[in-house]
Symmetry: C2
């Protein structure tokens, strides 16, 4: 519930909820961040390297300020993604920004760097909306930090940036007025980008953590706004943020079953018993076995939502049982199909198709390529693409591939 | 040594080292990746959401292909950063790309997505150079994977992307002809971006991991090329990639000493005894105590390389001893200065400046802001910036701040 609770709290926060004390603290934190960024840009090479020689060639329309840059060099603007990164670096490069002493988090950097950059790109954003979003992001960072400190820190993570990408995502989601479900997806996409380890303290990379956290959170919120999916148990799930960044996970889950005998790793990867979409079905050995029996092949055509929800397929999946066996190699399987009249059909797959010992032939690989590419751009262009990509190793300029199909 | 060994191996790899078997496998892996990306772009919403509605507004000059996009929509190009991300998503969205069975890594995705995007942006890149870089990146991923598998995987990390950002950095560094020290820095910057947890399997975010790993590795190599520093023990250090992503770190290191008595956390953060640069000195309680005594203040002016290397300061640092004491709160310190005639001066700092109980006053915070900003853009503009940023909470459009100073 942690992910949805955080998302719901942030979605429902209003400016009227903010006490005078909170507003005063937020205001100080924000302008102190700006001072650090403006001063930091001029004081250290890190933000200038990031902006001038590295990211300028990739910047899109210059909607957003690079704090400090218009005081010292010509380029004072960049796209919001680049601005979030560079401002984040600049704001932390002097290690002179605000500190939440209980967790050693510097909360303003990731949140303000993402927020100001996107606020400029979005057009009119009121100070009240901005400060509400800022508070939401900072609160998210510090609450997350409190929930994992000190273990998370003692492992070696740089807690400002590991919580910072999530705080930035919450703040930007708030500014974009995302609802709770979309904010939860943003938290998910942000949390899977775990930025920052302590080995880099004392190098330019420490400040990079803050910029990349800001940028990662911003990207997460924008993706979520546009319908990109993640997981609404991102924080609390066994293989989610809180556990993965703190402790070893447990071993593979238990499973019952009988007709398939496979290596336990198969269930770690593909243990979904009741997939509901084509995407989920790729992680279901039950689905793979069912469609193998029903269709005789396992290509993208058998991993569509339609096929996954087909009642015959659903029915066949419930008949698949899986037994784990350490003795079975990871690329092998024992399959036993029992028919209603008592007949049994046994098959031992020594090496799965695509393994080192049973590779796709040149012809099979071409078939796979052509099937995918023809669907996308038609057969004639697919043939030319095949020629182009198979001959890349002999080209003088691989960049010209795009003109060849 | 792992970081430098990997960097050195990659730097010295030549096309002549690649056997026919390696080249054949690399060629198949590369063109299969292209097929997956071209087909994947058309088959699933994830790469289209990432490109069309999310990243198009931020794309810089369109130097690099979006594989599959020119078959279905108008926009077929983007800047190399965006292309690496979107092609990485598209190449994995069908979970149909190549697999290194021993580690369950899909090696081509992060490496090829970064390489093709930057190769197009760079101008002529020969197929031989391209394939050499591709092999370097894939080998880096799989060797790293073997060194941490299965523990790393069992914790819950998505091993394709956690190793993928490093593989992509190695590959792009190779293409850029970086030397061993610069390649090591690139490995560092890539390794601190730990992308991907298993909770997202079955959602759009799984494929995002591959794209973001590609983009993170590309960015790391470009930053390193331009002199951005990280750590050349990034992989093997106690708080580096191999350990942090696998197990809890140990507790704070032991220290001797007497004149400073502080909470043990102080040494976790600031335990550097002999800093050689201003940046390192910020993580040295020894330096902070020395300059506090010598200068009476601790502002950015006392954290320059010059001050850090000043012989009087160096000498004073060696006279500082630190004792850990769990009973001392994290924001407090006991300082005892003993003079050569036997006189002792004792000071108990109850709450450090900047802590909740001893905050900077409005005036002190303004002084801090002005000091930083004046250095960057002069006093008159700094005053205007102070006005603008302190009043952000009342603005109708925070985006207009940039025009106000």
């Amino acid at each position: 519930m942690a992910t949805l609770q955080l998302a719901s709290w942030a979605t429902n926060l209003t400016y009227a909820n903010l006490t005078t004390g909170v507003l005063t603290a937020a205001n100080k934190s924000f302008y102190n961040w700006a001072g650090c960024a403006i001063g930091g840009f001029a004081s250290q090479p890190a933000p200038q390297i990031a902006l001038n020689t590295t990211l300028s060639p990739f910047s899109g329309p210059p909607t957003s300020s690079i704090l400090g840059a218009n005081g010292s060099i010509a380029l004072g603007f960049a796209d919001a993604q680049v601005a979030a990164l560079v401002n984040g670096i600049a704001s932390h490069v002097d290690d002179y920004d605000d500190t939440h002493l209980e967790t050693i988090i510097h909360p303003a950097g990731p949140v303000a760097s993402a927020l100001l950059a996107i606020a400029e790109a979005m057009g009119p954003v009121s100070g009240q909306d901005f400060m509400t979003a800022f508070v939401a992001g900072v609160e998210a960072e510090c609450k997350l930090g409190l929930s994992v400190y000190p273990q998370h820190y003692d492992v070696g993570w740089h807690i400002t940036s590991t919580t910072g990408s999530i705080g930035a995502a919450v703040a930007v989601s708030k500014l974009l007025r995302l609802d709770t479900p979309h904010t939860a997806q943003a938290i998910g996409i942000a949390s899977t980008q775990v930025i920052g380890m302590q080995v880099f303290f004392g190098s330019d990379t420490k400040a990079f953590h803050i910029g990349r956290a800001a940028q990662s959170g911003l990207l997460a919120a924008l993706l979520a706004q546009n319908g990109y999916t993640s997981a609404d148990t991102a924080l609390e799930a066994k293989y989610g943020w809180l556990h993965v960044t703190r402790e070893k996970g447990l071993d593979v889950a238990d499973v019952k079953a009988i007709e398939l005998r496979v290596n336990p790793e198969v269930l770690v990867l593909t243990g979904k018993t009741a997939p509901t979409t084509g995407l989920e079905a790729k992680f279901s050995i039950y689905h793979a076995a069912a469609i193998g029996l029903l269709y005789g092949e396992a290509t993208p055509s058998q991993f569509t939502d339609e096929v996954v929800r087909n009642s015959t397929v659903v029915d066949m999946r419930t008949k698949v049982n899986v037994t784990e066996d350490e003795e079975v190699p990871t690329d092998a399987a024992y399959v036993s199909v029992e028919f209603s009249d008592g007949t049994t059909l046994d098959k031992h797959v020594e090496h799965a198709k695509g393994s080192l010992e049973n590779p796709l032939s040149e012809a099979e690989l071409k078939t796979k390529f052509m099937e995918q590419v023809t669907l996308a751009i038609g057969e004639a262009r697919a043939e030319r693409a095949y020629e182009a990509f198979t001959n890349a190793g002999g080209m003088e300029d691989v960049g010209r591939i795009r003109g060849m199909y």
